[in-house]
């Protein structure tokens, strides 16, 4: 189903989304990837505050290429989400409602998604030029020294994503490939 949602995301809206839904996000989202997550975890360990509120917010796992003059951002596609699996459950428990990335998530992250009524979206990997068109503003708000890995606040309009893991724990990566898989025999490990 095609849906339009506003970010920050009301938890009830997140819970209504189902794996396979094609969603256009409009509003404010935040970027953070490997190094920023490490710093956020260190901040939490020390009892310090995070660069932005987790509650009702969406994190986009993304580190852009530099913006040319007159443009808000460079190429801006998703990075592999599983590298953030170590950090995601704590952020979800703090109220984070959505994550945008690409690739599989761990069982622990899935449990945290279900426990909190959150959602994991995939953006199309390797479509950074196309996706940049939906980003209207970008501002570094923390960890500027990390360069592309700094935390950015993004204003997005109709940013296209697909629901991969929903609040019920359905996982599109697991269900969708079965339809086109000719034989399970290929999945034998050496």
């Amino acid at each position: 189903m095609e849906r339009h949602i506003q970010a920050p995301v009301i938890r009830e809206d997140a819970c209504r989304l189902r794996a396979g839904d094609y969603v256009y996000i409009t509003g404010t989202i935040y970027t953070a990837r490997d190094a920023a997550h490490k710093r956020m975890q260190e901040a939490l360990d020390k009892g310090e505050t995070l660069p932005f509120e987790m509650s009702c917010n969406v994190i986009y796992y993304m580190g852009p290429s530099p913006a040319r003059e007159g443009r808000p951002i460079g190429s801006a596609g998703p990075t592999t989400a599983s590298r953030m699996d170590k950090y995601a459950p704590a952020l979800l428990d703090m109220g984070l409602v959505g994550m945008i990335g690409k690739g599989k998530r761990s069982g622990t992250v899935k449990e945290a998604i279900v426990r909190n009524g959150a959602v994991y979206f995939a953006a199309v990997g390797g479509a950074g030029a196309l996706l940049s068109r939906s980003i209207k503003r970008s501002e570094v708000i923390a960890y500027e020294d990390l360069g592309t890995e700094a935390v950015r606040r993004l204003e997005v309009e109709n940013f296209p994503v697909i629901v991969v893991i929903d609040a019920e724990g359905n996982d599109l990566y697991e269900t969708a490939i079965k339809e086109y898989c000719v034989s399970e025999n290929h999945f034998v490990h050496v």
């Binding site: 580190g63 290429s65 460079g74 990075t79 990997g125 030029a129 990566y173 050496v190």
Partner: protein, 280 residues
Amino acid sequence: MRTINVADVTQSVREMCIEANHFLAEDMDRAMKRAAEEERAPLGRQILCQLQDNLKIAGEDMIPICQDTGMAVIFLEIGQEVHFEGGLLEAAVNEGVRQGYTVGYLRKSVVGDPIIRENTKDNTPAVIHYEMVSGDQVRITVAPKGFGSENMSRVFMLKPADGIEGVKHAILTAVKDAGPNACPPMVVGVGIGGTFEKCALMAKKALTRPVDRHSEIPYVRELEEEMLQKINQTGIGPGGLGGTTTALAVNINTYPTHIAGLPVAVNICCHVNRHVTRVI
């Protein structure tokens, strides 16, 4: 003997870094167009059409195809009649990368130490592979490599008794484990034989071979065709969201090996399989 000033190498590398990150090579472009026409899954087809739009925007607006503009992998095939002047070749290549990634608005994705992890801020150093060949020319291939797919690559030290069936299992295991993480449709580079490091290097170089050109060794060609068919039957599909286009090509290189071993490396590349070659 022919003398080449390394400044010419710098200039070429600089231009090739920018070109590779904005325009796919013709072989990849054709393969992506064909995939969009042939994909059976509706969502898969939609994703492949978005990737077509993405390529168009990248070229027209000069915005990198993918934000991960890679670590610069550079193959230098140096004719042994060539003499370089004007400085160190390695420094000249790195200067080309530094300039290309800076003036080309490409992402700086390299950290100076794998544990300390401070960004070098100019995407250097490159990973440079040198090969001495006959002649008086230098053939430069720039292949920026993204790490979503690099992280899903594998080396398998198989036993001779595992034979070709073991090789097939290894390739399919790597692809299956990569799944959506490697940004399918992927290109699969495979090295069979040699030593631990030789097979990995062959797999990397296989990714720079045009996706519409098969190995000249008959059994290897058959293996490439069979593996492509089997990979496209896994159902992984574009973006890992189901479909009939999981890989665009399987390119395999082989080399003699030891009586006790059968090394196999599988280097996976996403659909942004960038490679530009120039001869100077």
